[in-house]
């Protein structure tokens, strides 16, 4: 069992489920993004999802777009991502997965990227614009290094594609709660519950729901049927307005939603 899968399983055994927190590297600075990620883990986040800034983030809504654009304007480099993973994993025990669009990884070299991430102590990669159909190189590199590969599953996915996503993923499957992009929403779509039920039928034992989750109440609701709840934009907003302290408070508040 991978570190990510184990952390999610442990959270489900001890509490209502896992809280996965997203923040982009390099926003507002590399140092502050590291402190914020550490603060998430120290305040109840079970798995850290670190986003690598990319020029054309088609899955992201305005809050994350703005943050990653700032990081790029400040000169973000992929090495900053590896450095951040190394420092965060040396300070907290929560596993760290990267979220990255595919082109930066492809340009860096899939094997080289996987090796560096592994050496830095990273646990895997979530690939929002890489479906398993196009992932031959990445599947080989992740098999070789033992990194987790997290593919997305959507409400629109056919049953056959859900089986494929479950079989190709390790660590967890990222269940997209709604047909849309990242960003806080007042309601988590009912489609999420149906999707997770379909993923169970497809054989998933580790399904986490993301997109639109921003309150402890939503976390609690999602964890009644899913193994984990993924929260992103609200952490980014907290970091923009209130710095690392606000991220710590947000994490602590969201974590109350994981108590059964």
């Amino acid at each position: 069992m991978s570190a990510v899968e184990a952390a999610i399983a442990r959270a489900n055994a001890e509490r209502g489920g896992a809280l996965i927190g997203y923040l982009p590297v390099g926003f507002p600075t590399v140092a502050e993004s590291i402190e914020a990620a550490v603060a998430m883990a120290e305040n109840g986040v079970d798995v850290i999802e670190l986003g690598l800034p990319y020029s054309d983030p088609v899955m992201d809504g305005p809050a994350i777009q703005k943050a990653t654009q700032t990081a790029l304007s400040n000169g973000f480099r992929l090495q900053d991502g590896f450095d951040a993973v190394r420092e965060i994993t040396s300070r907290v025990s929560a596993p760290v997965v990267l979220m990255s669009y595919w082109n930066p990884i492809m340009q860096y070299g899939v094997d080289r990227f996987a090796d560096e991430l592994k050496a830095a102590g990273g646990s895997g990669i979530i690939t929002p614009d890489l479906v398993s159909d196009e992932a031959v190189d990445w599947i080989a590199a992740s098999e070789r290094t033992g990194l987790d590969r997290v593919f997305l599953a959507a409400p629109s996915s056919s049953d056959a594609r859900l089986v494929r996503a479950v079989e190709a993923s390790t660590g967890f499957v990222y269940a997209v709660s709604t047909m849309g992009i990242t960003g806080a929403r007042s309601d988590v779509d009912a489609a999420a519950k149906t999707l997770v039920a379909r993923l169970r039928e497809a054989g998933s034992t580790s399904a986490c729901v993301g997109l639109g989750i921003s309150t402890a109440e939503q976390v609690r609701e999602v964890l009644t049927y899913a193994d984990g709840a993924i929260v992103g934009s609200v952490f980014v907003s907290a970091l923009s307005t209130g710095g690392v302290d606000a991220v710590a408070k947000t994490a602590a508040s969201l974590a109350t939603g994981t108590l059964a």
Binding site: P128, E134, S158, I181
Partner: protein, 405 residues
């Protein structure tokens, strides 16, 4: 046969690098397209629209006075500028709008650079009674204000995109985001031969009519196939449309002209095939302009329609197998060709198409007076009058001020 390539891959290029949420919609579109392709009723419907709405077949025009400046080569223009809405874009739009109607979609999403594709999509939406939203980079809404007005007059909602470089690339990102959220009732009407499968193949097929007609017309006029075919390349739809009929005519040279902006040796250009390298952008693997870490680099061109850091995957493949040649044309060369065609032949081309004309001038000098060059005149220049007026200082400032009061 090179003509028979059906995707999703062209050599190592193409594919589907998109969020999982879109895969079902792409599968649905692919299936609908394959069904329609073999349905005589669909073909008849499209042919009827071509004939009675667009004004096809478009004519060819030989331009001897212009050709005097091109080494004496015979130059023949394929007049896509005479289509309804003023460019080749309508060919693809009508095809995809018919497909969208078959799929029961009631809303069209489009991106646009120069506005030609947006205008064509807004036109089809009006014709078919669909709603329409067009994403356009804020920079482009400024330099193509007239087309913004046209789209709004046609009933479309035009949304200026303020993210990133505020041009075509960012408009495509925004269109894809909209599609992810509204895929149930909306069709993303991609305007070029880029994007995830089946767009590159489907858009090419809807533009094949350009080359099919032109090949026959040139044969009738000259008794032989042309020596070379020239077209401008941004995403590459008009070029694929005219190239396709000639792909297996090995004696016919194919030339794609990219926007070199201030020069392909400067940092301000859009010469993707000349200066880029393979990567993934907007759902497909293809050549693209990027930095050493795979971040997309902003492109620059006086022509909004060519101001794009990517290119269709089939062009990348044609370049790599050596079937087509791609060369850069600067802003200055294109503007000079625009003025030359206007002055010598009374035809004002779009700035995009002027890149192909500038290329033909160079090519004619290279190939000599025995050669025949077919140029795709993909659009007319009405939309570019403001840019041209400023570039050539055609309106003196006193009058301009008065007009502005």
């Amino acid at each position: 046969m090179l003509k028979d390539e059906l995707g999703p891959y062209f050599g190592e290029f193409g594919g589907r690098f998109v969020p999982e949420s879109l895969i079902a919609a792409l599968d649905e579109l692919d299936a609908a397209y394959n069904e329609a392709k073999n349905d005589p009723e669909f073909a008849a419907e499209l042919a009827e629209l071509h004939a009675s709405y667009t004004g096809r077949p478009s004519i060819i025009t030989e331009v001897p006075r212009f050709a005097e400046h091109a080494g004496g080569a015979r130059i023949i223009l394929k007049r896509e500028d005479l289509n309804h809405t003023g460019s080749h874009k309508i060919n693809n739009v009508l095809g995809q709008a018919l497909l969208a109607r078959r799929l029961g979609k009631t809303r069209l999403i489009a991106e646009t650079g120069a506005g030609q594709h947006g205008v064509a999509t807004a036109t089809a939406a009006a014709l078919f009674g669909m709603s329409c939203v067009v994403y356009m980079g804020e920079v482009d809404t400024e330099r193509q204000a007239l087309n913004v007005a046209r789209m709004r007059l046609l009933g479309a909602e035009v949304i200026p995109v303020t993210a990133g470089s505020r041009t075509l690339k960012d408009a495509i990102n925004e269109g894809l985001r909209d599609w992810v959220a509204n895929v149930e009732d909306s069709h993303y009407l991609m305007g070029t031969v880029a994007g995830p499968h089946p767009f590159p193949v489907m858009v090419r097929d809807f533009h094949r009519v350009i080359g099919d007609e032109a090949r026959k017309q040139v044969l009738e006029l000259t008794g032989a196939l042309p020596t070379a075919v020239a077209a401008c390349v941004g995403g590459g739809s008009n070029a694929m449309g005219i190239f396709h009929a000639f792909l297996d005519d090995t004696d016919v040279a194919l030339y794609g002209y990219e926007a070199a902006g201030e020069g392909h040796l400067t940092e301000r250009h859009a010469a993707t095939l000349t200066k880029g390298r393979p990567g993934v952008l907007h759902g497909a693997r293809s050549y693209m302009l990027q930095d050493d870490e795979g971040q997309t680099v902003e492109s620059h061109s006086i022509s909004a329609g060519l101001d794009y850091p990517g290119v269709g995957p089939e062009h990348s493949w044609l370049k790599d197998i050596g079937r087509a040649n791609y060369e850069p044309i600067t802003d200055a060369e294109a503007m000079e060709a625009l003025r030359l065609l206007s002055r010598t032949e009374g035809i004002i081309p779009a700035i995009e198409s002027a890149h192909a004309l500038a290329g033909a001038i160079k090519l004619g000098k290279q190939l000599g007076p025995e050669s025949v060059i077919l140029v795709n005149l993909s659009g007319r220049g009405d939309k570019d009058m403001e840019t041209a007026a400023e570039y050539f200082e055609l309106i003196d400032s006193a009058e301009a001020n008065k007009a502005g009061e």
